[in-house]
């Protein structure tokens, strides 16, 4: 019975995680779109779930569902490295977001633009501080 219960919990957890992941990506995309339309930011950003870097895996990583959180910046030009690093640093400085990304199965943060071939990626595990807040 314990095996069934465990299996059942896994199934429920899978659905819950999937819902939370989709919700997070949608929220980001909707905010990015709104900011671009209102002229607050000069670049339209779009988040998506992609294959992560296998070197960055951790115990929460979702290998088969995509463990990479990719942000594509539609700028119509090649963004400077400084711009890309700035976007990444802003995301990584938000501890709550990073922790949430990690527990929802992401292990890699990738940022690149629609023009050009280069982008940046970070190992999310390096930026979490689980258990330090509220203890």
């Amino acid at each position: 019975m314990a095996i069934v219960a465990n299996l059942w919990n896994r199934i429920i957890e899978w659905f819950e995680d999937r819902q939370s992941r989709t919700k997070l990506v949608r929220s980001f995309n909707s905010s990015a779109k709104e900011a671009f339309v209102q002229g607050i930011v000069p670049v339209m950003m779009e988040a998506s779930i992609v294959k992560g870097d296998p070197k960055y895996r951790h115990r929460f990583s979702k290998v088969f569902e995509g463990s990479g959180f990719r942000i594509k910046a539609y700028a119509g030009r090649q963004l400077t490295k400084n711009d890309i690093v700035n976007i990444g640093a802003t995301i990584l400085s938000n501890e709550i977001l990073v922790r949430r990304l990690v527990v929802l199965g992401w292990d890699t943060l990738q940022i690149h633009c629609d023009v050009g071939n280069y982008g940046c990626q970070w190992q999310l595990h390096d930026y979490i501080m689980i258990g330090q807040n509220g203890e």
Binding site: V4, A5, N6, W8, N9, I12, E13, S20, L24, S27, F28, S30, S31, A32, E34, A35, I40, V41, P42, V43, M45, R59, F60, D83, N86, I87, A89, T90, I91, S93, N94, I96, L97, R99, R100, V102, V103, I130, G131, N133, G134
Partner: protein
Amino acid sequence: MENDTLQAMVDSLGQTAQSTTGTNIWMIVAIVELVIIIVLLLTRKPTDNKRSDIKKQVLAEGDIDFSNLVNSSFNASRLYKELLVKCHPDRFAPDTEKMAIANELSAMVTKNKHDIKRLEELKEEAKQKLNINL
């Protein structure tokens, strides 16, 4: 001719009866499955392993302000640099009280360099406490 028609009707009725029995069986299987799922949902015991605890704790941390995050990605660095220059403690050198405030503000500005909402708050604070134009 009549016999053939009758035979065809009998065959057709037999096939319908068989397909109805088949549908009934699958309906019963579906109902049993539904009952099992409902029972499992109602009797579900919460997991008590460490992994789930961490996940619950993290997911309960509150909402993320994505608008602020997106806005900060492109606009925070400019304000950060401006505040860092204008609130530098050396600019208030003779006044020790203002120097202390500027010191504190500079530390806060550095800490929140990627959070534009917080930087805007610090800007207002700097205007009031240090009497500077920003």
